[in-house]
């Protein structure tokens, strides 16, 4: 549970940062350097997606372990 919370928080922070950066001021961070940071954001999103998937698998395994413990 804790891990999911952490990752969800990281995800939200990432999104607020990127969208916030896009809206603040005249110097558009995300579109600077030929939109290089869009590529960075895309890679970060893919990475976060993979990690979230791993967390789901982790929790499924934890559930099995708990069941093994219950059955003695």
């Amino acid at each position: 549970m804790k891990a999911t919370n952490w990752i969800l928080t990281a995800f939200l922070v990432f999104f607020t940062l990127t969208t916030g950066a896009a809206q603040t001021g005249s110097t558009d961070f995300m579109r600077s350097m030929g939109k290089m940071y869009v590529v960075v954001a895309v890679i970060v999103a893919v990475f976060i997606g993979l990690v979230l998937f791993l967390v789901v698998l982790d929790r499924r395994l934890t559930k099995i372990e708990n069941q093994i413990n219950d059955h003695g």
Partner: protein
Amino acid sequence: MEKLIRQYWWKALGVLILLYVFVVGMLVPLKPGITLVAPSSAKTGQELILEIEGYNTNFDKAEDTLRMWLKMDNERSLAAKSIDVIGPRNARVAFNIPDYLPSSQRVQDFALVIDNPIDGASVRPNAVLITQDSIDPDQGIQQWVNENMTGLHEKQGITFPFRNILGETIRNTYFHVSLWLAMMIIFIAAMVYSIKYLRRLDNRYDYWASALTSVGLLLGGLGLLTGAIWAEYTWGKFWSWDIKQFTTLIALLIYMAYFVLRSAFPDEAQRARISAVYNIFAFIALIPLIYVLPRLTDSLHPGNGGNPALGGEDLDNTMRMVFYPAVIGWTLVSSWIASLLYRTSQIEEYLWDKWDEDDNYEK
């Protein structure tokens, strides 16, 4: 297969390939290009002064050898009268536009071509639209001072092509487009396992089908998410009901329905059989969705209606060297994750069967 999923070489291979894709995909620079030409329209019989902004260019280092042309067609081009270099990325160039153009159109588009030995040649299509007050092609041919583009240079070293709207996001070919192809491969594998299940009625094939489908959903979801991030900074909106976004969403809904269907059956054999049937049906229904419908309507997505994207001239040889490994790498890593899910399902089945037997024994 049982042996293969416990071996490490293909997992390591997948990771190494992706590492290569990340390093090369991020580090190889873009070919110099032209991001801005202002003004974008002009009239005949004037001296036209253009402000030019380049990308990855070295105008200052190549000041003496810098050459520019306005190109009308393959035979006709107009050389620059004078070039002022302002910085490595900025220059001001003057052209003498004749009174008449050798064209019977009122408005003629010109491409801007820049060449120097350091950056090589770069082109901006439709850079300037020139309007002529009166049309007289014969006089236009007489007045035209043609200067052919000769001795164009090639940029030294490995580069990715520069495309106008895309810019650096052409690298998304490796992190967004390749996810797509990997997803299709994974979904095809899931369908093959569903067919195998229907032929042999072996539970292991069902576990493979469901594991592969959920990884395919992950790839599809990431494809949609990365596409939305790109769209936010290119089209201005995360979601704009572009036909590609829409069909992708529907495709994901079809496969989400697969898991809804699975959860509706408590009996294992019935669940496996009916979800296998639906998986095959879903894949067949996906084909018109992804490949036929985007051709029916206009799309702003790269690759449609003159928008630059992969395929044809857009995916050059350098990009191929990264793009195909990217597809293989994503597929291998996804298969690794799917094999983990498969092994988890097998352990669950083993334990539940064992506990069921124990319960029966106690009774």
